[in-house]
Subunit: 183 residues, 2 copies
């Protein structure tokens, strides 16, 4: 079966600061027409940031969409044309005020491929040197650090409820004992 859907029309609905929205009319594999609501997002990066004592840095911030204060790994949206690793280094400096001695890509993934173009790249940053955070003027967040095992426990108890943070913390806690080539 050819699963692809050819776009035959595209209607722009909204153009914003964080997202755009369009509705595509597509030709389905059965020859019929269908509508696909597509949220456009420029992509993001997230960082599992570990110091020499295996503490992880987390940020606490209010998330309007979830209507709650959430604990997450540091993250941010890509600037226009920005390389993901450069963005991750920038976000780590801005949110945590730190630089890392070792960078490793964990994965890239789509947060919600059914309707959203957002692709996130998650990095592991180790060997952190502390500094002073310098967040954007419209970002309000609290930085905290804790042993990685404690953050993992928050994932297991489902108190950390952010997708990128769950992926990154599961990887850092379970996956680092396995050998893998650095990238």
């Amino acid at each position: 079966m050819n699963l692809e859907e050819k776009t035959i029309a595209s209607q722009k609905i909204f153009s914003g600061k964080i997202v755009n929205l369009r509705v595509d009319t597509v030709l389905l594999p059965n020859g019929k027409r269908g509508a696909r609501e597509i949220v456009e997002h420029s992509g993001a990066v997230a960082i599992v940031a570990l110091d020499e004592e295996n503490n992880i840095y987390l940020v606490r911030q209010y998330r309007k969409a979830a209507q709650k204060i959430m604990l997450e790994i540091p993250a941010g949206t890509l600037n226009q044309g920005e390389d993901p690793l450069a963005a991750a280094k920038r976000e780590l400096r801005e949110e945590i005020g730190a630089r890392a001695g070792h960078w490793e890509k964990i994965c890239s993934y789509y947060s919600s491929p059914g309707f959203c173009t957002e692709e996130l790249t998650v990095y592991l940053a180790a060997g952190l040197t502390a500094g002073n955070p310098n967040p954007d003027p419209d970002e309000f967040l609290e930085v905290t650090k804790m042993p990685l095992s404690q953050a993992f426990d928050l994932v297991r108890r489902n108190e950390i409820m952010d997708g990128k943070s769950i992926i990154g913390i599961q990887y850092a806690y379970w996956g680092r004992q396995d050998e893998r080539p650095e990238s």
Copy 2:
């Protein structure tokens, strides 16, 4: 610091089949006003479905937003007022044509809490009995199964690029040896 953002106005932009879009004007912690673009989504479920031989069921489908054919764990959107576990059982029947002898909640999480209300609940379903899939008329997908270790290898090689699938497969591969209370 009080991190919460009080909504002082809300503008509906779009009301669709999968998402709605609104822009909220909020009072920031520093007393200034800010805009929050919010994509509303009714929530979803995803299932790590394992048979008695530790094979995992996956579905391959074209994702317009990602512009590629993706390999994912079975998943679907919640119907209005639907209980997540009931939705997961329904999706497993529809997409895979199977029932499971054991259900366990892995976690609930927000796919993109910075701008989207979507909350996903991921389940582990074990002891599958095979059957015949019965997908929605506008869903075009291919069902495949493979050893869990092979699916995990696709996660490690970043060939599986879907967030919920990465979370679920990481958990099933790494986490099941640990004792945990069933829920």
